[in-house]
Point group: C2
Chain length 359, copies 2
DNA sequence: TTGTACGCGTTATCAA
DNA sequence: TTGATAACGCGTACAA
């Protein structure tokens, strides 16, 4: 068998299915079949076609295929406005897990950013209604709506992460912020702490509300009212956790009656708070126990090592993606609308018994 | 003007250009023109078409457009195998800047992961040769090659970030790891330090090699040979920076002659090293000055605050993306093949004069 | 300024 | 098992 001299093996972006068909001496429809349903074609022909495709470095044109079959193989992940780059790497961790799962299932991942402006919402809706994407994951945000288009009505499967919107029939994969904080606070209560200092995330934020509620529930469970909690922060987004922590330290220093336990809504806040409060002369955990939220790896290497609530971001991303793909592929799939993946409290050196217990 | 009762305003994914044309009473080609070149159509017609499109919630089908015009509007970013989630958030920061710039220019961003296995390389090549993407950014990695296909020959513009491959005609947007470390080391030398302890990244890694070279250059400049450097680490990837730092602390403790200055190839290493070495009884910076690389925000809140070299990730991502888009849109654009964006040394409390100077 | 007609590359239907 | 053919939705010559 002679090889044609004009081998296109390393040519730019050409090599169409027609080229493969010609080289293999078959019709394009046969090539298409050989590549998609290898079983429904004569083995010998299949091999010849495969060889031809290989030789030409043939790669199917994705746009043509999408147009023909009426759906893309792209999944979109909608990320909240300002990802924050403190110690807590929620977004990158989720993204990594999502991407891995998406690829493993033969899809591609596209990123969309949901800022608060209309143009970004419009962009997301274009992606959905224009058929660019076949499914969407949305992280800790409400579904965008602009003009007379709403993502919910785009006719594609959607799965929410971290934010519970199962009430609007959108499957939600979430963690139990509230319960996790409650359990951590109960440990502090068991260590004899009564007065708490709470460093808040942005007021009204879903996670902020839940975490604070967990603290209140724990106190209530111990017969204490929310009056035992002194709040700080709340005026800055999670993005500025470090700043919030610094301000909180100053707030703390001004208090007449000092709490003995601190619960922070994010690791960033706790890290900068702890750093500053120690410079101001307080000792952790002797004077003050500190607990925070996120489970950043760096917490283990703080001084003292910081107790935190680890969020199962990998499991969350993977579960949500598999959930979405299941919905995309068999929409009749009956699956629950709400999956809770538990967070885990990691106890480290930043907490100890309340030394002022007898005061 | 009457509205048709059968308004499709909130229908799933339908609403074709033909629908808009019908509603506006024009041909599809006119609709196409009105949407793309609003100038080349009668204003009155344009308004009627716009209204019709609005009413129907029309969104152009991306696959059809891509197929027709022969190119997509998707840019791919190829990320290195195992992103590491320590304190140094190189990848998410670059990603954020890239995504912002991509969207601002009317493109979409797709994520590709370059693990070391063949399947992920094949996947990337499919994206390129299948016309799914129109340009590629590649982060700190070599261009993938599988079978008789190479990304370099896919016929699409490519820009490399962090890794200098300008030698193979791929435009590279990089930082000056070597110079930055050299300058930091020169500060340490000026403070009287002579013996250095270097905590290495993965042996052979581009950044590792460059950073170490910077240290050596600084010493040479001061008339000292590399013998003044004791190396540790090198056996783990950057991903395991925290572990590397812990091991380094143990290595340090075993040394007969203690260096007075530590240079770490990443913040993670320095953070865990500093944490451990202090627990072992050494004081920073009184006994030991520490400097590291990456510029993680958390460094400011370490005890003591950690001197580090801040990498201009936002500028890097933005520059690279703009560079790529310029190449995509006007391939004749003459631009340099190599852009260096300087890193910045941030001096904090972790360094001080060498107290053993007279020893 | 607007309409007609064709083709982008693939897959699916149908007939051979 | 294979081949001819149509169609996916859009953009763009070209003609009107």
């Amino acid at each position: 068998m002679k090889k044609t001299e004009d081998s296109l093996s390393t040519e730019g972006s050409s090599a169409l299915m027609a080229d493969v068909a010609r080289l293999a001496g078959v019709a394009t429809s046969t090539v298409s079949r050989a590549l998609a349903n290898p079983g429904r074609v004569n083995e010998k022909t299949r091999a010849r076609i495969a060889a031809a495709a290989e030789q030409l470095g043939y790669t199917p044109n994705a746009a043509a295929r999408s147009l023909r079959v009426g759906r893309s193989n792209v999944i979109m992940i909608i990320l909240p406005g300002s990802p924050h780059y403190g110690a807590s790497q929620i977004i990158p961790q989720v993204l990594e897990a999502v991407n891995r799962t998406v690829i493993r299932n033969g899809y591609n991942l596209m990123i969309a950013n949901l800022d608060r402006d209309e143009s970004s919402e419009r962009h997301i809706l274009d992606l959905a209604f224009g058929g660019t994407v076949r499914g969407a994951l949305i992280l800790s945000s409400q579904l965008p709506v602009v003009d007379n288009r709403s993502l919910a009505e785009a006719g594609l499967p959607i799965v929410s992460l971290l934010l519970d919107v199962s009430g609007t029939s959108v499957p939600s994969i979430i963690t139990n912020d509230r319960l996790a904080v409650k359990e951590a606070a109960m440990e502090l209560l068991a260590l004899g702490h009564r007065r708490f200092f709470y460093i808040a995330g942005p007021t009204g934020n879903y996670h902020e509300v839940e975490r604070y509620a967990g603290l209140v529930e724990a106190l209530n469970g111990a017969g204490l009212s929310a009056d035992y909690i002194t709040r700080s922060g709340g005026n800055l987004t999670f993005q500025f956790g470090f700043e919030t922590g610094l301000q909180a330290a100053e707030d703390f220093a001004r208090l007449d009656e000092k709490p003995t336990a601190v619960v922070a809504a994010s690791d960033d806040m706790a890290i900068s708070f702890m750093s500053k409060i120690q410079k101001m002369g307080w000792r952790v955990p002797e004077d003050l126990s500190v607990v925070s939220f996120d489970g950043s790896p760096v917490c283990e290497y703080c001084s003292p090592s910081l107790s935190t609530i680890e969020q199962p971001m990998e499991a969350l991303g993977e579960t949500a993606t598999e959930f979405l793909i299941a919905r995309m592929e068999k929409s009749d799939e009956k699956r629950e609308l709400r999956v809770v993946i538990p967070s885990r409290f990691i106890r480290r050196d930043s907490i100890a018994v309340n030394s002022k217990l007898t005061t």
